[in-house]
Symmetry: C2
Subunit: 299 residues, 2 copies
């Protein structure tokens, strides 16, 4: 067993987390969160999303957030851009890195973004072309990699096909998301074995949801497969829309605790991170979804 | 990587879980819980504890619980017996298997059971002798194996010394408990490597707390080390007394979900288990500590 010596965490709380909040969060609170996260040592923060406020009202004001954050050197501040219009808005707001997303499940793609998987990939072509021209980096997401709320099990080969396509189109990294959190450690390893045969492993990331309490084990399983980039969400922000009351994104605090315990370098200060999580948990008015935060705040 | 083909779960909810409840649970509710657990397929249930009700009032009535449960063939119904008096009371109540416990930390042993580790082991000698004579099996627990609330880190060699002693005294199995839940996957593997050199691995069990969200990952790490017996608690019953509001014992539902996902046989019906957990969660008046139960009950 040889584990990676360092891990990069992609903090998705301000975007993937807060976009699921029933009550919109103010620009000021979002800015405070992003700055607290960079101060805690996170080197990659997904700050917002440039989508129609008609579809995702929680992400209105992303441009203002980008304008007001204190940009710390060495930190990547990224935004989701589902289409060319969103990409252009993001660039106009000074964004240097965007993310695009596709699904590994046809049914999920249809219901979530209203088109087939291949149509969604076609939509990215003009984004990729514009990004190349303007020197913008693009990260790709694939959702439903270990299960789909409509189709059930998803073959790793299907995930590999979508991931390979995103990589071939120019995504410098592809994040594989267990959107409904049903995956377990063995399936996670098989996933990275199969996808890793199509896309270099150092271009893959893991994105786990803790809905069934498996996220930390899945991250450990991924580390054993040589994966060293993971998405996570401060305080576990972002409930899973398919299981009311259940947890969604794995909490960044819990991931950092695991990595600290394994002696893997992240550059993140766990206590500062817990402080950032405490602050945003107060804003959203819910207890933290992080077990580490709960334990540490309780002592 | 070769994982065990089957795992035995030791359900500690009725004892280790309920003994931490502020409000005592009635004998009838305990009986209903134990019967629901055996009906769900659990083959080993720690039903109660024969200790002075002065120290642990929650465990008063253990003899009545033993008298009223429906004994299912093939199921072991065990009790904790901290001293010879407790052992005799347990045997009088028809108990065929008892458990004794020691700590891997001197400070914890002193504060928790008011004697040194070696004194605690000496106290077990008459229990072991009486058990041998009467054909009673004895299981040993070692607490604080991955950290102590007073001493901090605990050397695996220290755990190995206590585990070896319990095994040499006649405990047929020794369960290693991460009492405060601070352990992570790498430390778990090292623990079983070191202890496994002193006690056969098939005589060791893992007992993990989910206080820091690491229990499922630690169980996966243990499986990779060949361990195939784990303690767990229905609905995650049993808060950790050192971190108010934080979770304690890993939830049986979450462990079974992991094992089902890995294709490891347990003989347990997850849906029946979730039903048992729902029932006892209503009795204690708290949401389940199991993420699987939360997700499945929310759908």
């Amino acid at each position: 067993m040889s584990l990676p010596s360092h891990v990069r965490l992609v903090e998705v709380g301000p975007r993937d987390g807060l976009q699921n909040e029933a009550q919109p969060i103010s620009v000021a609170d979002k800015v405070r969160l992003v700055d607290a996260l960079s101060a805690a040592g996170l080197s990659y923060i997904e700050v917002g999303s440039f989508v129609s406020p008609k579809w995702v009202p929680q992400m209105a004001g992303s441009a203002e957030v980008f304008a007001q954050i204190q940009r710390k050197p060495g930190v990547t501040y990224a935004a989701l851009a589902p289409n060319l219009r969103g990409f252009e808005d993001a660039v106009a707001a000074g964004v240097k890195e965007v993310a695009v997303f596709a699904a590994a499940s046809e049914a999920f793609s249809q219901r979530n973004i209203n088109c087939s998987i291949s149509e969604s990939l076609e939509r990215f072509a003009p984004i990729m072309a514009a990004a190349r021209q303007q020197g913008i980096s693009v990260r790709g997401y694939v959702s439903c990699v270990l299960g789909c709320p409509y189709e059930g099990d998803i073959a790793p080969e299907q995930v590999a096909a979508v991931a390979r396509e995103l990589y071939a189109m120019g995504c410098y990294e592809v994040s594989l998301g267990d959107t409904i959190g049903t995956g377990t450690a063995g399936a996670t390893r098989r996933l990275f074995e199969v996808v890793g045969a199509q896309v270099p492993r150092d271009k893959l990331a893991g994105h786990f949801h803790d809905t069934y309490g498996q996220a930390i084990a899945n991250i450990y399983a991924s580390l054993l497969e040589g994966i060293n980039v993971f998405d996570s969400s401060i305080a576990g922000l972002g409930g899973c829309p398919y299981a009311k009351g259940a947890s969604g994104n794995v909490a960044t605090e819990d991931v950092v605790y695991l990595l600290d315990g394994l002696g893997i370098h992240t550059g993140i200060d766990l206590q500062a991170l817990i402080g950032a999580g405490r602050q945003i948990s107060q804003v959203v008015g819910r207890p933290s979804g992080s077990r580490v935060a709960k334990a540490c705040n309780a002592v």
